[in-house]
């Protein structure tokens, strides 16, 4: 498959438009001719909260995930893979209902044309049973995979209800990183921010600083995560952290309002603040081009 993408053409062909954010060590070289082995793109979907019911913040909750799947399928150029960065389902105390929601979610996303789909849990999926149900449906809570020279590390900062990675996982991360060159391209996928984005709203990982300290010696690390239901970009030293929009409702900017509560649905601007993103990787340049894409209203 030729994964070369002209970004402008890509957005035009999909008819979605969107915001493009450049991340990485170098600028976007749109016109450069590159090998398909040196570049690829993936799609990040996050915080779908399947099972959520709140008409004031999303009266179309029963269809939002399905529309997102259709939008991904409609992309002119198929992504190499799709990642869901947690909170696949909305939490419930009922283990039976939790599993029913996970089964429904799995059925809906099975309609994705691209079959390489990576999952990770959010606290809504995994915190009440330490990831037991999640693992039945989606497999391991933390793992690695490699794609075209990029090493992806999936971290679980949610199956501990106190939002810690834990000593065992940190030891696992340390061991995994030992095999990597210091200049290897590394992408971390996780649910919660690893840095203290806004601890007053619990937008943090209790021992996230320990993970960042382990990653810091590596020159080319980028983190993609969810949890905060909005696009957000932050640097901890040379490490870039990119939060994705939600596919159920947006949350306000950190500290912009007294309480962290969903932004109400605006009938005049349905689906505002709800969306997903594409991430185009230029492996040689260690450059990630992010495009924020909306969910079609129809």
């Amino acid at each position: 498959m030729d994964n070369k993408i002209d970004r402008r053409q890509f957005l035009k062909l999909t008819g979605l438009g969107g915001v493009v954010f450049a991340s990485g060590l170098s600028g976007w070289a749109n016109a450069a001719k590159k090998s398909a082995q040196d570049e690829f793109y993936f799609v990040q979907l996050s915080d779908t909260h399947w099972g959520f019911n709140g008409p004031k913040v999303n009266p179309d909750a029963a269809n939002t995930l399905k529309k997102a799947v259709a939008a991904v399928n409609a992309l002119e150029q198929a992504p190499d893979f799709v990642v869901f960065t947690g909170d696949l389902t909305h939490t419930t105390d009922d283990p039976k209902l939790r599993r029913a929601r996970m089964a429904e979610f799995r059925d809906i996303v099975s309609a994705l044309k691209i079959k390489e789909v990576r999952f990770m849990p959010g606290e809504h999926d995994a915190a009440l049973d330490h990831g037991e149900a999640y693992q039945e449906f989606f497999g391991k809570l933390n793992y690695t995979f490699d794609h075209k020279g990029v090493h992806f590390i999936v971290l679980d900062n949610v199956s501990d209800p106190g939002a810690s990675l834990g000593e065992a996982q940190l030891a696992w991360l340390k061991q995994d990183l030992k095999q990597m060159r210091r200049d290897a391209p590394i992408v971390v996928l996780t649910h919660r921010p690893l840095f203290d984005l806004y601890p007053q709203w619990d937008w943090a990982t209790r021992d996230g600083a320990a993970a960042i300290a382990l990653l810091m010696p590596y020159k080319n690390v980028t983190v993609f995560y969810g949890h905060i239901h909005q696009e957000h970009h932050h640097q901890t030293g040379h490490i870039a952290h990119h939060a994705a929009q939600s596919l159920i409702f947006p949350l306000p900017m950190a500290g912009s309002v007294p309480k962290r509560a969903p932004v109400p649905w605006n009938p005049d601007q349905p689906y505002k603040g709800i969306g997903f993103r594409s991430v185009e990787a230029d492996v040689k340049r260690v450059d990630y081009k992010i495009a924020e894409l909306p969910v079609p209203k129809g």
Partner: protein, 121 residues
């Protein structure tokens, strides 16, 4: 909504730093205490008002399951466990309104489990 304003003895020493302690540490005889219970998805006290520079002692316990008590602006956090009183002592060193919240995920409504601490001069 319950609201508590504490009145403190004048001879209480002002501590320069924030300190959180557990139930194993004893209280001074005349040390006033704020007692808070936690249950899904609320604290018994949703607002507290205290004075800057005056030590505060909170005694927190859970009624149903493990919760958290996190007051990040003062570096205070603890697990709150049923059947055990967790004692937290700290000295507010700045005025304003500060959030405290449960940081142990406890279910649908967890995100609502919070309160506001007001620190006055």
């Amino acid at each position: 909504m319950r609201h508590v304003i504490l009145r403190w003895p004048r001879n209480v020493a002002v501590l320069a730093c924030v300190l959180a302690i557990t139930a194993t540490q004893a209280l001074a005889a005349d040390e006033p205490v704020i007692r808070i219970t936690a249950k899904k998805f609320e604290y018994s006290l949703r607002t507290l008002t205290v004075k800057k520079g005056v030590p505060v002692v909170l005694e927190v316990t859970a009624l149903d399951r493990v919760h958290g008590f996190n007051l990040p602006d003062f570096g205070v956090r603890t697990d709150v466990v049923p059947g055990r009183v967790t004692r937290i002592r700290f000295t507010p060193d700045k005025t304003g309104k500060f959030v405290y919240f449960c940081d142990v995920f406890c279910g649908d409504g967890h995100e609502e489990m919070s309160g506001a601490l007001t620190v006055k001069d």
